[in-house]
């Protein structure tokens, strides 16, 4: 039996009896447990690289109800490398203006004008079910092109046995259980990760003693496409803070911060929810309740994300409060970081210790995200009288004085982390711009044709700007691609020079498959590239 824990928005991978069920146990290179956004992103990435992956999900599609709505530029860039971003951007809502209120008064307004010269917007609002659907749609395209990806719906993992060189999973299906062996398992099974529990691993952190009522309502009202955030909202029973934010399909996300001691069931009564929403939108507002839910939030992570042959990614490895939209956004970066490393290990091109760097780099990312979302939560729900006094002083001052506005924290936008000081990093010998330093994700830039990131397609890439490219096509069997540009011919806006040269006349960058910079020089020879690639695949002496 497989329990149905939630309703399905899109039935994308209907259950089919497993052909080999009842026959001898199958052995596969990679099983991904959980087909949420992170599992699907990892599957698509690995499959596109030609490494066979099997996704087991205990449902037949994407769960109803949008959790994540805000997807940041880096996530879209990763999705673009995987081929799925176009649909997301086309469907998503782009917004720039935000308003912050304290009580009935507007404190200030901001405009997040995106920096020009990036193909992807700074962020979009899109219901999570669409995000997941577009990934699965792209998996279907990849499968047709021959990518060895298999998805099994209503296949629930119920047990795990670890061996030295493989892992055996017990899987429950409507036709009974079976077992499957995998060389590697990626646990993308969400914040309540059954795999983590079965392995007896801890998941420590901080619970915020607060409940948030989330209501997605459908209405065609003439609200502008802006993010409105209230501290101590003036409307009746709306709690300590409230948020109104637009999604596609005339859906609006409304959040109410209800406090700790509440009766969840009573609060979810549609009549009670409507009372609150009416008070916010004004009497006579015409809307339908699409989806409601109550959440408590926590910030916590596993101590490490690799446990032998089991790798944890996404919410199973780390959980953050949603202020700042860092859950799915950071999980997609986990998948981005892990896929190329696991691919090289499976192909025998890198030692398996390379996977330890996945844990180190993404633990670093998780800590940054937890720090940011903890700070936002502390601003939203001051924990003491004094912190409340300071919080309100900031809001007070922000009305009149610009200096206080950057301190107002209703969630900071998710930005990718820089892998500063990590063991895979090679030399930073350029004296170039800080934003593209070793460890940073590459910044996009418009070229004479297309954008820079379109040219970084998931291989190690040597980017030579105004410099002669070192003559090298592979290192120990790992392919090295080349993008060779000059600012005269290829840099119509000057963004490439500004982002990659700074004051330098020329540069050679070595870029990892996940588009992070791993070394840079004013110019270099094949030996330098060879050493830096070896370092980046965990072969440093």
């Amino acid at each position: 039996m497989v329990d149905v824990r939630y309703d399905i928005a899109f039935r994308l991978y209907p259950y089919e009896r497993v052909q080999t069920q009842g026959a001898a146990r199958q052995r596969v290179p990679v099983v991904i447990v959980g087909g949420g956004p992170i599992g699907m992103a990892a599957a698509l990435d690995l499959g596109r690289k030609g490494t066979p992956v099997l996704v087991l999900d205990d449902h037949e599609g994407v769960g109803q109800g949008s959790r994540a709505i805000c997807f940041a530029k880096r996530t879209l860039e990763i999705a673009d490398r995987l081929g799925a971003a176009r649909a997301m951007v086309d469907k998503g809502v782009v917004w720039n203006v935000g308003k912050v209120f304290h009580g009935a008064d507007q404190v200030f307004e901001f405009n997040l004008q995106p920096e020009p010269g990036h193909e992807m917007p700074a962020f979009i609002n899109l219901q999570q079910p669409y995000f997941e659907k577009f990934l699965v749609d792209e998996i279907r395209v990849a499968q047709k092109e021959g990518a060895p990806i298999d998805i099994r719906g209503r296949n629930a993992v119920t047990g795990i046995t670890r061996h030295a060189d493989h892992v055996v999973l017990d899987v429950g299906t409507p036709d009974g259980p079976y077992q499957i062996a995998a060389d590697w398992v990626i646990a993308c099974d969400g914040a309540r990760s059954p795999i983590r529990d079965m392995m007896g691993l801890s998941f420590d952190g901080r619970v915020f003693e607060d409940n948030f009522l989330i209501a997605d309502v459908k209405m065609t009202a003439e609200f502008p496409t802006e993010r409105w955030f209230w501290f101590e909202p003036p409307f009746k029973n709306s709690g300590q803070s409230a948020l109104l934010h637009k999604q596609p399909d005339d859906i609006w996300r409304i959040d109410f911060q209800l406090g700790w001691d509440i009766d969840r069931k009573a609060e979810l009564d549609p009549a009670r929810v409507r009372e609150r929403v009416d008070a916010m939108l004004g009497a006579g507002a015409d809307y339908e309740l699409e989806w409601t839910s109550i959440y408590t939030f926590q910030c916590r992570r596993m101590k490490k994300f690799r446990h032998g042959r089991v790798l944890f990614a996404g919410d199973s490895a780390h959980q953050v409060s949603p202020f700042g939209a860092r859950g799915a956004n950071s999980g997609v970066q986990d998948a981005d970081n892990l896929a190329w490393k696991l691919d090289l290990v499976i192909k025998g091109l890198a030692p398996d210790t390379l996977l330890d760097s996945y844990s180190a780099e993404r633990v670093h990312g998780a800590d940054e995200n937890i720090l940011n979302s903890t700070r936002a939560t502390d601003f939203l729900t001051p924990k003491s009288e004094t912190s409340m006094t300071f919080r309100n002083a900031v809001l007070d001052l922000a009305r009149r004085h610009a200096f206080a506005r950057p301190m107002v924290n209703s969630g900071r936008l998710s930005v990718p982390c820089v892998y500063d000081g990590m063991p895979l990093n090679g030399p930073d010998a350029l004296g170039g711009p800080a934003a593209t330093r070793v460890g940073a994700p590459c910044l996009d830039a418009p070229l004479d044709r297309g954008f820079l990131l379109n040219r970084l397609t998931g291989h190690f890439t040597v980017l030579s700007i105004n410099a002669s490219a070192p003559d090298i096509a592979e290192v120990d069997g790992v392919p090295v691609a080349h993008v060779t540009l000059t600012t005269d011919r290829n840099d119509p806006t000057g963004a490439l020079a500004q982002r990659y040269l700074g004051t330098q006349p020329q540069a050679v960058y070595l870029i990892r498959p996940d588009q992070h910079v791993t070394a840079r020089w004013p110019g270099c020879d094949t030996r330098a590239v060879t050493e830096a690639v070896r370092q980046a695949i965990g072969k440093a002496a």
């Binding site: 006094t389 002083a393 900031v394």
Partner: protein, 62 residues
């Protein structure tokens, strides 16, 4: 810059007077709010994180 902990305010008695006068007639909550606003304004004026950290440390030592 280093945190200046030597006398730096001209007419200290006059300044102290003005500080108390600003709080006159305020209840505890309003006074606390005023202090918080004042701290934020002054911290922003100083700006230098090193100095602010030293000031916090100096204030925390009793």
């Amino acid at each position: 810059m280093t945190l200046n902990l030597s006398p730096n305010i001209a007419d200290p008695d006059g300044f102290y007077d003005e500080l108390l006068a600003a709080h006159e007639g305020l209840d505890k909550a309003a006074s606390d709010a005023l202090n918080a606003r004042l701290i934020l304004i002054l911290c922003n004026h100083i700006g230098d994180r090193e100095v602010l950290r030293d000031a916090l440390a100096a204030a925390s030592k009793t």
